[in-house]
Symmetry: C2
Subunit: 260 residues, 2 copies
């Protein structure tokens, strides 16, 4: 299992390398910034969920490589734009200068824009159900922006208190699982099971983040309770899938106990 996921990790990196622009002899700032952001040592949780969802749906991981890379490109672009001075104004990301700090604001806006375009272009290359995959990705693409806008605007009256949490993190987890399930040839029921898995995993992930950062809006006890119940709901949603779900259930358990 561990060796298999290492192989998958290598294939994710190789696919990202294939679709990202070459830097060439005279590297241009745009291509350099795109690679700096997308190849900067992320944990690749979303593409791994995508490949594992194809397998869980009874298909092959390799059929989900383009959707997996697409979800990661989309994630990378959101981080670049979130860090901008007009947004969260973060000068650092993963212990290195953020893209705008290193390349300037204009290049950061453009590199994010180009990575988003590249994400959809890459998803469209999926060997099957490409249109449905792009539509699921686009739905998540709108959702994460909505989540970021709601967070900037502050709490809205009448909005459920986990609405922002759901959109902000869970939408890309859901996109990873749904596009993987579609690429793997899953039935409508399999897609629904994996959607439910990812939605709950995303909620657990975000509350765990709040616990780690100590900046959540909920009391710690309540946040911890929600991590537990969302993780349990995620694992329960995997029941009935035709393929191997061990990676996904292990992932849910390991994310719950993570320390960073």
């Amino acid at each position: 299992m561990r060796m298999k996921m290492n192989l998958d990790a290598d294939r994710i990196e190789a696919t990202l390398d294939e679709v990202l622009p070459c830097e060439g002899e005279r590297p241009d700032a745009l291509s350099s910034a795109m690679r700096y952001a997308a190849c900067g040592g992320g944990k690749r949780i979303r593409p791994k969920i995508c490949l594992a969802s194809a397998v869980a749906a009874g298909g092959r991981a390799e059929d989900a490589l383009y959707p997996a890379a697409a979800v990661e490109l989309l994630h990378s672009y959101t981080l670049i734009h979130d860090d901008l001075p007009a947004m969260d104004d973060d000068a650092e990301r993963r212990g290195k200068p953020s893209v705008w700090k290193k390349f300037g604001e204009a290049v950061a806006v453009l590199a994010g824009d180009a990575l988003q375009a590249l994400a959809y272009r890459t998803a469209a290359r999926a060997p099957r159900k490409a249109a449905e995959i792009v539509e699921a990705l686009g739905e998540a693409g709108v959702g994460v922006v909505r989540g970021q806008a709601d967070e900037l605007a502050g709490p809205a009256p009448g909005l459920a208190d986990d609405f922002v949490v759901r959109h902000k993190t869970a939408d890309l987890f859901v996109a990873a699982a749904v596009t993987g399930a579609l690429a793997g040839g899953g039935s409508a029921e399999d897609v629904a099971r994996l959607r439910s898995f990812a939605l709950n995993l995303g909620v657990a992930f975000q509350y765990e983040d709040d616990l780690l950062d100590g900046d959540g809006t909920l009391p710690r006890e309540e946040a911890a309770r929600r991590v537990e119940s969302a993780t349990a709901a995620a694992i329960a949603a995997l029941a009935g899938l035709p393929g191997d779900t061990e990676f996904l259930s292990q992932l849910a358990i390991s994310l719950k106990g993570r320390t960073a």
Copy 2:
């Protein structure tokens, strides 16, 4: 002919209205900014090229409505981001405050991001060849950003002097024509003809813009000569198409003589 294109214009507006977020009882800034940008009185040249290309390829305009809306959404997002203080720093667009001036920089970044996501989601709904349509749109989506980055970086050694021009305007014209041709069921030859038409039209359009603004890098005489030759090449490329090409050739002639 005129009545037909008016009907098409109505259908373009209706499709944009259908896919854009509703503002609801309590309008949120993100949805308002998206509608402000996308429904702000553009000439809709790109979606009209898309619908007319479906017809020129022998198909029906209505099959190209989603790709047409998608190209316009992509165009709208590029205008929002181009106007940002970190980019061209334009406080006005079409005689009204630009999006960042009216809604703030953060909302402007996010509204552009959401419009881009919505563009691909919309393109994926094309009734045929949706994957190819999204790939063509994504290619243009990367190209326009590359064009903007090259313009900001200034002239590069060894780059053809119309390289920037081509990317900046022609890529979205090409995307409109190619996605329309695909949606209309055009053959590979038809798609190639319409690609050539749109590439030349885009080049003519940009040089004409430079003449109108008086800010081109070429002498006026040379720019005017290039407008003439690119327009002629665009019209010549329409020969051999199975459907009605009158709208496209008239468009090429009218853009040449435009005054704004």
